[in-house]
């Protein structure tokens, strides 16, 4: 599923290819800070190029913000059960980091990949919500965004589910009933186990990758400081020794700049992709959980039917 190349924009084909070949290419660009103070946010320009009939025209540009992407993801998750939905970059926890150039770029890249994966997926690309996302004007989008939190009320639903889980587990124990957790076979179990384990490994690798980026930055900084100190020391010494120290200082500072660049590259080309895979695995886990959910619901409903049938039979007996 996740095989999209990691370039700035786009999926399969260029707009110049013969119009018989359907294509849908999206790019997320041009982050701009809007709003003030606490309410400030980043908006992105989303450019869609397509020849698909469902879309209006060959090219369409809309402005979207992060919460719009979240809306899209949630809708897809609801509608396309059983399909692994591409992962979104996380909401940023730390306030002051939210608007750093690096963070914005990381997020933009991740959002771009997100949309393109959807566009390349043969089922997901047909989603009406995707079309809305790519084409609707901003007011419509805003309305839909607010609706989402109104109608679907995800969090409370989750809560209820947790209670139900506990309830049923308790009753199982009390009644001595054994309920199947989910429909399963050995191969599925193996895959499931693999996915869960994989997440751990990837997470650890990502953690170290993140630290490595930090180390590069720290080494760069310390080289820069050392270089400055060497220069000052050289000024004290004078003569050839002084010159040598100065040279060392200059070179240290040059090295420092290179290291900072390397840190940035490492971040964008190594750590971010790793993080992306961690998120992807988490998304897979979410789908697995949904599957288990669905199965449980089915079981419960089946039981309810059985109970009702028994009641019906009993009442028939009574009235006969």
């Amino acid at each position: 599923m996740i095989t999209t190349p990691r370039s700035g924009s786009g999926s399969a084909q260029s707009p110049r290819s013969p119009s018989s070949q359907p294509y849908l290419s999206v790019s997320v660009t041009d982050p701009v800070k809007l709003g003030n103070g606490v309410q400030a946010y980043i908006s992105y320009r989303v450019i869609t190029k397509t020849n698909l009939p469902e879309y209006q025209g060959p090219e369409k540009i809309v402005i979207r913000r992060y919460s719009d992407f979240v809306w899209l993801r949630d809708r897809l998750f609801e509608k396309f059960k059983g399909i692994f939905i591409p992962p979104l970059p996380e909401k940023s926890a730390v306030e002051k980091f939210r608007f750093s150039a690096e963070f914005i770029e990381m997020r933009r890249q991740a959002l771009d990949i997100f949309v393109n994966r959807i566009a390349s997926h043969h089922e997901l690309q047909q989603s009406e919500d995707l079309r809305t996302f790519l084409q609707a004007d901003e007011e419509t989008m805003e309305r839909l965004r607010f609706q989402e939190t109104g109608i679907f009320k995800k969090k409370p639903t989750d809560f209820m589910q947790i209670f139900k889980d506990v309830q049923s587990k308790v009753s199982d124990v009390v009644l001595g009933k054994e309920k199947p957790v989910e429909e399963s076979n050995p191969e599925y179990e193996k895959l499931k186990h693999y996915v869960f384990e994989l997440e751990n490994h990837l997470a650890e690798a990502q953690k170290h990758a993140y630290r490595l980026v930090k180390r590069h930055r720290e080494l760069g900084q310390s080289l820069s400081d050392f270089g400055k100190a060497a220069k000052l020391l050289g000024a004290c010494e004078g003569d050839s020794l002084g010159k040598t120290f100065s040279e060392l200082g200059v070179k240290s500072e040059t090295l420092s700049i290179k290291l900072q660049k390397e840190a940035h590259q490492l971040l964008m080309n190594f750590e971010e992709p790793l993080k992306d895979y961690v998120r992807a695995v988490q998304s897979i886990k979410a789908t697995i959980a949904e599957r288990a959910n669905a199965f449980r619901q089915q079981c419960e409903l089946a039981e309810t039917i059985k109970l009702k049938e028994i009641n019906l039979y009993d009442s028939c007996l009574l009235f006969s």
């Binding site: 190349p5 990837l202 720290e218 310390s222 100190a229 020391l233 120290f245």
Partner: protein, 611 residues
């Protein structure tokens, strides 16, 4: 492995993850022989010559012999890596101080990993013929019991160190001898030297430990101290004047108890001061500074009154309108003092940044290793759980990257070990700058003493005149006044003596009288009344020999000579340090780059695939 000579910076503790890392590498495709060969290789790193092993499988980490080895130096066994050896810098980097060849005091350069090297080579100018050597080793720490009058039953334990000296200098009795000394003896030696050699740049001694008895138990601490003592004694041995001093000779040669007066501890000093205080408070307002006390700076506790007077004088110097009777006029001295202050500041800054740099390098190595380890685990996992062959193929590539990271991590660690040694020079000279500051302040305080005495003298004389004038007016003389005048005259005499001694002392620090001929030279010795005869003689000998002829050399200043020596040595040492540091960085950068280049080549297929 690399522990002994890196104080505090390097891996004093083995990381659990490091152990894991080195073991984990073996687990993969592990066979018994592979395990053994690797541990052989590891232990070989601290022995000489390296034992190159041929492992059972082709795991890159275990097959050092796959790569051509650079020619092995005699010097180089510890970090002789058997990885790729480009013929460029890699050959040069592993002998940190081999530029110090021809060093008098360090016969046979100590190889990294075994002993600390001498930081103060005599190379440019030796005080005497270059075949003189004085080599000191500190070893064999042992716990001993305090035998006499310990208040605490079960007694005080302390550690003694075996101090072995090898020398061919005639002033010493014999060519090889050993004594046992404890740290307290070092403190004594250091204090006595500081007294005898005011104005000299005496290397600072190792610090006392605040919680001495508790810390003593630790093996690490004792070892650290041993190394520090060795460095200190070697520096003393390198100082052209101090090495011949009586104190030093006594310290190195006399068996049993150290025959130097011990430093008085604070308590008894305070007691002294307290005893003197009433005398000072109650009259005898002409409490006099005895001549012999004048040759030392006023210390707290004992010399309260003197301290007070000198303080008054210094304030008068700074804020008073008139110039003090004897002024520090030597512009060169003042300039040098300024320069040294500046240098100390910058050195301190550089030393701090060096520490930060070392820490950053260490962290980099650590994290790189942990990353490699995480990926190796991932590889293993993929191999075990793989459902498709493509997974296994990817896993193999991933493993290459992971082992590259581990290799790079090891290189970083080695780089850091070397860097620490090189940049240590900065820290050591910073310590010496403190000695310089003391020397300069010796001179300043000697001058202050002179100034104070002169002021006092003139004040006393004034009083004497007034009293005489007053008493002459009374017919037959005023018995009490006359007595007072007599006392005053006595005080003046004593103060005059003190003044002379103080001036001598100041001059001694500031300037050596020029000698016109050999006879004058001997004559001076006969005339010298100072209690520091022995050191004077040694100094004169030195100066005389330096001049190489009976003819005079003019205005040879203590401070200036010392400064020149310091500057020379420092510049030589710093150049060495810079060279070593840079060559090191380059060499390891090349090695690490090669490691990654190889991996990049191996996985270049991926670059072609993704467009």
């Amino acid at each position: 492995m690399m522990g002994s000579d890196n104080q505090g910076f390097e891996e004093a503790h083995p990381f659990a993850s490091r152990e894991e890392m080195e073991n984990l590498v073996l687990d993969d495709d592990s066979t018994a022989t592979a395990n053994k060969s690797y541990s052989n290789y590891r232990s070989a790193r601290s022995l000489s010559p390296p034992i190159l092993v041929t492992p059972a499988d082709s795991d890159p980490l275990l097959s050092p012999s796959l790569y051509p080895n650079a020619p092995d130096h005699n010097n180089n066994h510890n970090h002789h890596s058997s990885y790729i050896e480009p013929p460029s810098y890699a050959d040069v980097i592993f002998s940190p101080f081999d530029q110090n060849s021809g060093n008098d005091n360090n016969t046979g350069n100590e190889i990294n990993g075994i002993e600390s090297t001498n930081q103060f080579p005599d190379s440019p100018i030796s005080p005497s013929s270059s075949s003189d050597y004085l080599r000191i080793t500190v070893s064999n720490p042992q716990k001993e019991q305090e035998t006499s009058n310990s208040l605490v039953p079960g007694g005080n334990t302390y550690v003694t160190y075996l101090i072995t000296t090898r020398t061919n200098i005639p002033e010493f009795n014999g060519s090889e001898f050993s004594v046992r000394r404890r740290f307290r003896d070092i403190v004594t030696l250091s204090d006595r030297l500081a007294e005898s050699y005011r104005g000299f740049f005496i290397p600072p001694r190792p610090d006392k430990s605040v919680v001495e008895s508790q810390v003593m138990q630790k093996q690490e601490f004792v070892e650290q101290r041993r190394v520090a003592l060795e460095k200190y004694l070697r520096r003393l041995a390198a100082h052209p004047i101090i090495r011949k001093s009586d104190e030093f000779k006594l310290f190195l040669q006399v068996q049993g108890k150290l025959p130097l007066p011990t430093s008085t501890d604070v308590a008894s000093r305070m007691l002294d001061g307290a005893v003197k205080l009433p005398k000072q408070l109650f009259g005898e307002s002409t409490a006099v500074v005895a001549p012999h006390e004048v040759v030392q700076p006023a210390k707290g506790g004992r010399d309260l009154l003197r301290l007070f007077k000198e303080l008054k004088q210094s304030v008068a110097n700074d804020w008073g309108g008139s110039k003090p009777p004897v002024a520090e006029e030597d512009k060169e001295f003042l300039e040098n003092k300024e320069r040294m202050n500046d240098l100390e500041q910058q050195l301190s800054n550089a030393s701090q940044q060096a520490e930060t740099l070392v820490k950053a390098q260490q962290d980099m190595g650590e994290t790189m290793g942990e990353l490699g380890l995480a990926f190796i685990k991932l590889t293993k996992f993929e191999n075990e759980e793989a459902m498709y062959n493509s997974q296994r193929a990817r896993a193999a590539d991933m493993k290459n990257v992971a082992t590259a990271a581990v290799k790079a991590s090891r290189f970083y660690r080695e780089l850091n070990a070397q860097t620490v040694k090189h940049l240590d020079t900065l820290h050591e000279y910073l310590g010496l700058m403190l000695a310089v500051r003391c020397a300069f302040s010796d001179r300043s305080s000697a001058l202050l003493t002179v100034q104070t005495l002169l002021s006092e003298l003139s004040a006393l004389q004034l009083r004497a005149e007034k009293l005489e004038a007053a008493s002459s007016k009374i017919f037959g003389g005023d018995k009490s006044r006359i007595r007072k005048i007599e006392e005053l005259k006595e005080t003046i005499r004593v103060t005059e003596d003190a003044k002379s001694v103080a001036i001598n002392e100041y001059e001694r620090i500031r300037v050596w009288k020029a000698f016109v001929s050999l006879s004058a030279f001997y004559g001076y010795i006969a005339l010298s009344k100072s209690a520091k005869d022995a050191s004077l003689v040694a100094l004169l000998e030195f100066s005389y020999r330096k001049s190489k002829s009976p003819l005079a050399f003019n205005g040879h200043e203590n401070n200036r000579t010392e400064l020149e020596r310091l500057d020379r040595e420092r510049q030589a040492d710093f150049l060495n340090m810079l060279k070593g540091f840079v060559v090191n960085q380059v060499g390891y950068a090349e090695k690490i780059a090669n490691v990654w280049a190889k991996v990049a080549e191996e996985t270049s297929g991926y670059a072609n695939d993704s467009t």
